[in-house]
C-alpha cells in the first residue's frame, strides 16, 4: 500500500520534493529515523495537501514508536483522503498504543487488521468479538505469542462473564458450587474446593465431573484412597468416560492393585484408543504385572505420539527399566541417553 502511495506521489513531485522523499526513504531503510523524519517533515512543508506526504511522516513516527507524534499527520492524511486503509491501520495502531482503544476500533476495522482489532475490542469490553478476531488472526499466525496471550485473556474474561452471570442468577445452584470448587482448586485452596464440590454433590448427586475434580484434589495431596473413591464414583456416573477410567486405573496402580488397574486402563484404552496418558499408565501396569514385552509396545506408542513431552520422558525411563530386566543393556542405555537429552533440552 505504501508503495502505491509513494508511486502516485512521485509522479506529481518536483525535483526538490523528489530529492527529500528519496533521502527520507533511504534514511528510513538505513534505520536513521531522525533523519527520515526531518526529510519527510520538509516534504510536508513543501506539499501539505498531499496525503502521501502526511502518511510517510506518520509511518516514520510509528516506526520510531513516537505514537503521539504519528497521530496528527495520519489524521491529516485521512482528512485529505479517507480511503487510505494503510493510514487507517497506522492511526489505529498509534491510538491503541496510547490506550485510545475505542477510537482505534473504527480505523483498525477499515484496515482489516484482525490482530490489533482483537486487542482493541478486548480492551473496550467487546470480548466475544475480540475472541472472533483473535482466532481469525491466529489462523494466519498460529504460534504468535502475543496473539495467544490476548486470546487467553479474552477467553478467560468471557468465561468469567458467564461465571458471574451464573453466580448472580443462581448463587446457590449446584453448578455454581462446582465452578467455585474449580476456582478454589486452581488457586490451591483445597479445603474450600472440597467444601464447594461436596455442596454441589449434595444438591445434584448425579453431576458429572465433580467426583473427577474431587479425585484430582485428593490425588494432588497424596490421598490415594480418597482419589480412588472419587474416580470410582465418576466412572459409575460416566461409564463411557475414558478420562475417568484412566485416572481410576492409575490410582489402582499406585495402590498396588495391579490386576484391577489393568482392567480399568484397558477399558479406558478401549473407550478412547491410544490416548498417550492411558498408554503410559497401561504400559507401567503391564510391566508391573511382569509382561515386559507387551509393556514395551505400549510405551513405544507413547513415544511415537509424545516424543518431546514429560509423558515421553517417563516412557523412555520405563523402557530403560524393561530393557534392563530383559537383559538388553545397550537398549536400556539408549533409552536413558534419550531421556537425559530430552531433559537437557528442556532446561
Amino acid at each position: 500500500m505504501m508503495g502505491a502511495v509513494l508511486l502516485l506521489f512521485l509522479l506529481q513531485v518536483t525535483p526538490e520534493l523528489k530529492q527529500h522523499v528519496e533521502a527520507g526513504l533511504k534514511a528510513k531503510n538505513a534505520g536513521d529515523l531522525d533523519t527520515a523524519i526531518r526529510e519527510f517533515q520538509r516534504v510536508v512543508e513543501i506539499a501539505p495537501e498531499m496525503p502521501a506526504a502526511q502518511v510517510n511522516l506518520g509511518a516514520v513516527y510509528l516506526a520510531k514508536k513516537s505514537y503521539r507524534e504519528a497521530i496528527p499527520p495520519l489524521r491529516r492524511a485521512l482528512e485529505l483522503n479517507p480511503d487510505l486503509p494503510g493510514a487507517h491501520g497506522m492511526l489505529g495502531t498509534a491510538l491503541l498504543a496510547l490506550g485510545y482503544a475505542s477510537e482505534s476500533v473504527s480505523h483498525l476495522e477499515k484496515a482489516g487488521a484482525d490482530d490489533l482489532l482483537g486487542v482493541a475490542l478486548l480492551e473496550t469490553g467487546r470480548t466475544r468479538e475480540a475472541v472472533d478476531k483473535l482466532e481469525a488472526a491466529l489462523e494466519k499466525r498460529p504460534d504468535d505469542p502475543d496473539l495467544l496471550y490476548y486470546l487467553t485473556q479474552a477467553q478467560g474474561r468471557l468465561s468469567k462473564q458467564v461465571f458471574d452471570r451464573l453466580r448472580q442468577r443462581h448463587p446457590d445452584a449446584a453448578r455454581t458450587r462446582q465452578l467455585l470448587g474449580d476456582a478454589h482448586a486452581a488457586t490451591g485452596n483445597r479445603e474450600a474446593a472440597e467444601k464447594d464440590f461436596r455442596a454441589a454433590l449434595e444438591m445434584r448427586p448425579d453431576l458429572r465431573g465433580v467426583h473427577f475434580a474431587l479425585g484430582e484434589l485428593f490425588l494432588g495431596s497424596g490421598d490415594y484412597q480418597g482419589a480412588e473413591r472419587e474416580f470410582r464414583e465418576e466412572t459409575k456416573l460416566a461409564p463411557g468416560s475414558a478420562a475417568a477410567a484412566c485416572k481410576l486405573g492409575a490410582m489402582l496402580l499406585n495402590l498396588g492393585r495391579i490386576p484391577d488397574a489393568l482392567a480399568e486402563l484397558r477399558r479406558a484404552n478401549a473407550l478412547e484408543p491410544d490416548m498417550p496418558e492411558t498408554l503410559l499408565e497401561l504400559g507401567k501396569a503391564t510391566a508391573a504385572a511382569g509382561d515386559l514385552v507387551p509393556a514395551e509396545k505400549l510405551l513405544r506408542r507413547v513415544i511415537e505420539q509424545e516424543p518431546a513431552s514429560a509423558l515421553g520422558e517417563s516412557a523412555h525411563y520405563q523402557l530403560a527399566q524393561i530393557y534392563r530386566a530383559l537383559k538388553r543393556p545397550a537398549e536400556a542405555d539408549r533409552e536413558m541417553k534419550m531421556l537425559q537429552e530430552m531433559r537437557k533440552g528442556r532446561k
Binding site: G188, G222, D223, L255, G256, A288, E313, S314, R324
Partner: protein
C-alpha cells in the same frame, strides 16, 4: 554368595561358640512373660499405652535431652536438617546407651564469625548411660563428650574403629566433624586431628564399614550442599521458606580408609567416590550383588540417588542408573533423605528403601538379582501409604517377630510452613510403622501418637527382650522413645564381633551394621523374628569370607558369636 554358603552347609562346619551374654537370660525370661512385664523392667513413664499395639511411646527416666536447632526468621537451611541419635553399648555392660546430637545457637541473623555456643550445656550433645533398672544417667561430661567444638551438630556414626572392643563415636556437623575414641573406661577422647577425619563443609549421615575387608572399619561421610551460612539466600514467595536444594551446588562425599594405628587416609578421589558431586543426606552399606564386598547407597536430595558398587580393588563405580535405583518410577529425581538397605522380601538379596518428601512416595527398590533392582513402591503397597508423608530416619526391622521385616519411619515435612504453601500437607507428622505382610506393607495402627518434626531414628533392643525398639530424634524437641511390647513370637539376636557379617536364619537374611537411617546409628546386633520357630539354624558369612553354621540354636536369647580364627 548364597551358593557358596549352601555348599558350605553340606560339609563339616566348625562348631561355634555360643556365649550367652551375662545377665541376659534373666532379662529374656522377663521379656517372655509378656507385654506388660517387658515394660515393667524398663523404668520410666509410659505416656501412651495401647493394649493392641506393640510399640509404646515411653519417656525413660533420666533422658532429659531437648534438641535445640535455634529456628530464625532467616531460615538458615541447617535449622531444619538435624539431628541424629545413636544406640550403642559404650561401656559394654550389655545394655544399649543413647547418644543424641544437638544443633547449636544461631543469631537472627547470625553475626560472622558464627559462635554456636556449644559450650553452653543447653547445646551439648548428650550421652545417656542405661542403668540396670532401665533408667538412664546423663554421663556426657564424665565421658568427655561435653565439648562439641564450634560447630552446628548434625548426625552420628558408631563403630569400633580401633578394634579394642568398645564402640567409638563419629559426630558430623556443619563445620568440623569429630571422632571420639572410646577409651574403654567410660571416657572418650577427641582424636579427630590425629585420625585425620575432620572433613569439613556440611556433613550429614556417616557410617562405619569395612569396604576392603582388612578387618578395620573404614568411614564414609555424606556431605549435603555447597552452602554457607554467611551467604544465606531468601527463598519462597509469598511465604519465606527454607530453600530447595536446587538453589545450591552439590558436593562430594568422603571416604576415609582406616590404615590402622588410629589413623585414616582420605581415599575419596582414589576410590572414585569423589568423582561425583551429590546432595547426600543418607547412607547405608550392604553387598547388593553378592560378591562379598560391601557396596554403598547414598540418598541424595533432589537429584538422582547413588549406588557405589564396590569393585573389590579399593575403588567404586557409581551404578544407580544401571541398577534401576536412581529415580522414581517415572524416572524423576526425588528428595532422598534416609535409607534402609535390607532384605524385606526374604529372598536373600538386600533391597533398598529411601524416604523422601510428601507427594513423592517413599521409594522401595526390590533387588531382583544380577545387579538389578525394580521399583516396588507400587506393588508393595508402600506408595499409597506414604504419598502424603515426608520421611527421614528409616529402618527395616521385624518389629512383631513374625519373620518379615517391617518399615519404621520418622516423619515430618522439611518446611515448617508447608501448610501455607500446600494446604493438603502437614509439617508435623507422627512416626509411622508399616507392617510387612509377606512382602506387602500395611500401616500399623498406632493411634494418638504425637505429631512431631521427626528426623533421625535409631533402632535396637533397648531392654533386651528380643523385640526391636526405636529412638526418634525430634527437631527442636525431646526424643521419642518407643518400647516394643512384643508378643508371643520367638526371636534370636546375634552379637557378632565384626560389622559387615551377613547372617541367615531360615529364609531371612540380615547384616550386622550400625549404619543406615538418617543421621543415626543403631544396635550392631543382628535381630531375627522367628514366629513359631523354636530352634534355628544360623549361617554366618563373615566379611573376610569365612562361613560358619550354628545348628539347632535355641531361640529367645541373645547369642554372642566370635569369628573363628
Amino acid at each position: 554368595m548364597r551358593g557358596t554358603l549352601a555348599q558350605a552347609l553340606l560339609r563339616a562346619v566348625p562348631r561355634l561358640r555360643l556365649v550367652p551374654a551375662p545377665g541376659r537370660a534373666e532379662r529374656r525370661r522377663e521379656g517372655r512373660r509378656g507385654t506388660l512385664r517387658a515394660c515393667a523392667t524398663f523404668s520410666g513413664v509410659a505416656i501412651l499405652a495401647f493394649a493392641t499395639q506393640s510399640l509404646e511411646l515411653f519417656r525413660p527416666t533420666g533422658i532429659d535431652f531437648i534438641h535445640r536447632h535455634s529456628p530464625t526468621a532467616q531460615k538458615y537451611l541447617i535449622e531444619t536438617m538435624g539431628g541424629g541419635v545413636a544406640l550403642l553399648d559404650y561401656n559394654q555392660d550389655g545394655r544399649l546407651d543413647v547418644f543424641l546430637v544437638n544443633g547449636g545457637k544461631l543469631g537472627d541473623p547470625v553475626k560472622l564469625p558464627v559462635h554456636y555456643e556449644r559450650r553452653d550445656p543447653a547445646f551439648w550433645n548428650r550421652l545417656y548411660r542405661q542403668n540396670p533398672d532401665g533408667t538412664f544417667t546423663d554421663v556426657t561430661a564424665a565421658a568427655g563428650l561435653a565439648d562439641a567444638g564450634n560447630n552446628y551438630g548434625m548426625g552420628v556414626a558408631a563403630g569400633d574403629y580401633d578394634n579394642d572392643g568398645f564402640p567409638d563415636l563419629y559426630v558430623t556437623n556443619y563445620g568440623r566433624n569429630a571422632l571420639y575414641r572410646n577409651n574403654g573406661n567410660g571416657k572418650f577422647t577427641d582424636v579427630t586431628a590425629a585420625a585425620g577425619v575432620a572433613a569439613g563443609g556440611w556433613s550429614a549421615s556417616a557410617g562405619f564399614f569395612d569396604y576392603d575387608r582388612d578387618g578395620r572399619l573404614d568411614l564414609f561421610v555424606t556431605r549435603y550442599l555447597d552452602w554457607d551460612i554467611g551467604r544465606n539466600i531468601f527463598c519462597g514467595t509469598p511465604f519465606h521458606s527454607y530453600c530447595r536444594p536446587d538453589k545450591f551446588g552439590g558436593v562430594t562425599s568422603v571416604l576415609f580408609h582406616n590404615v590402622g594405628g588410629g589413623r585414616f587416609r582420605d581415599v575419596s578421589a582414589a576410590s572414585g567416590i569423589a568423582a561425583l558431586k551429590g546432595k547426600a543426606l543418607g547412607v547405608a552399606f550392604e553387598d547388593y550383588d553378592g560378591d562379598g564386598f560391601a557396596d554403598i547407597f547414598v540418598a541424595n536430595d533432589g537429584m538422582e540417588q547413588f549406588l557405589f558398587h564396590n569393585k573389590t580393588d579399593g575403588t567404586f563405580e557409581e551404578r544407580a542408573l544401571e541398577a534401576g535405583v536412581a529415580f522414581s518410577d517415572d524416572g524423576k529425581p526425588f528428595a532422598g533423605m534416609g535409607v534402609a538397605f535390607a532384605d524385606y522380601d526374604n529372598d536373600g538379596r538386600p533391597d533398598i528403601a529411601v524416604t523422601n518428601l510428601a507427594l513423592e512416595k517413599y521409594a522401595l527398590y526390590r533387588n531382583e538379582g544380577g545387579g538389578q533392582f525394580r521399583y516396588a513402591s507400587l506393588t508393595s503397597g508402600l506408595a499409597a501409604l506414604t504419598a502424603r508423608s515426608s520421611g527421614w530416619g528409616v529402618g527395616l526391622y521385624d518389629f512383631d517377630n513374625d519373620g518379615w521385616k517391617d518399615l519404621f519411619v520418622a516423619q515430618s515435612h522439611v518446611l515448617d510452613n508447608v501448610e501455607k504453601i500446600h494446604s493438603g500437607l502437614r509439617y508435623l507428622e507422627p512416626p509411622a510403622l508399616f507392617r510387612n505382610a509377606a512382602g506387602r506393607f500395611e500401616k500399623a495402627d498406632l493411634p494418638r501418637l504425637p505429631s512431631v518434626a521427626g528426623r533421625g531414628a535409631a533402632f535396637g533392643d533397648l531392654n533386651n527382650d528380643g523385640y526391636m525398639d526405636v529412638v526418634v530424634s525430634v527437631l527442636g524437641g525431646p526424643p521419642l522413645v518407643f518400647l516394643n511390647h512384643g508378643g508371643k513370637n520367638h526371636w534370636l539376636t546375634l552379637q557378632l564381633d565384626r560389622l559387615g557379617a551377613r547372617v541367615k536364619v531360615g529364609n531371612q537374611w540380615a547384616c550386622a551394621t550400625t549404619s543406615g537411617s538418617y543421621l543415626s546409628a543403631g544396635d550392631p546386633r543382628v535381630h531375627f523374628g522367628l514366629g513359631s520357630v523354636q530352634r534355628a539354624t544360623v549361617e554366618i558369612l563373615w566379611p573376610g569370607g569365612k562361613e560358619q553354621v550354628l545348628e539347632n540354636v535355641p531361640v529367645d536369647r541373645i547369642v554372642t558369636v566370635k569369628e573363628p580364627p
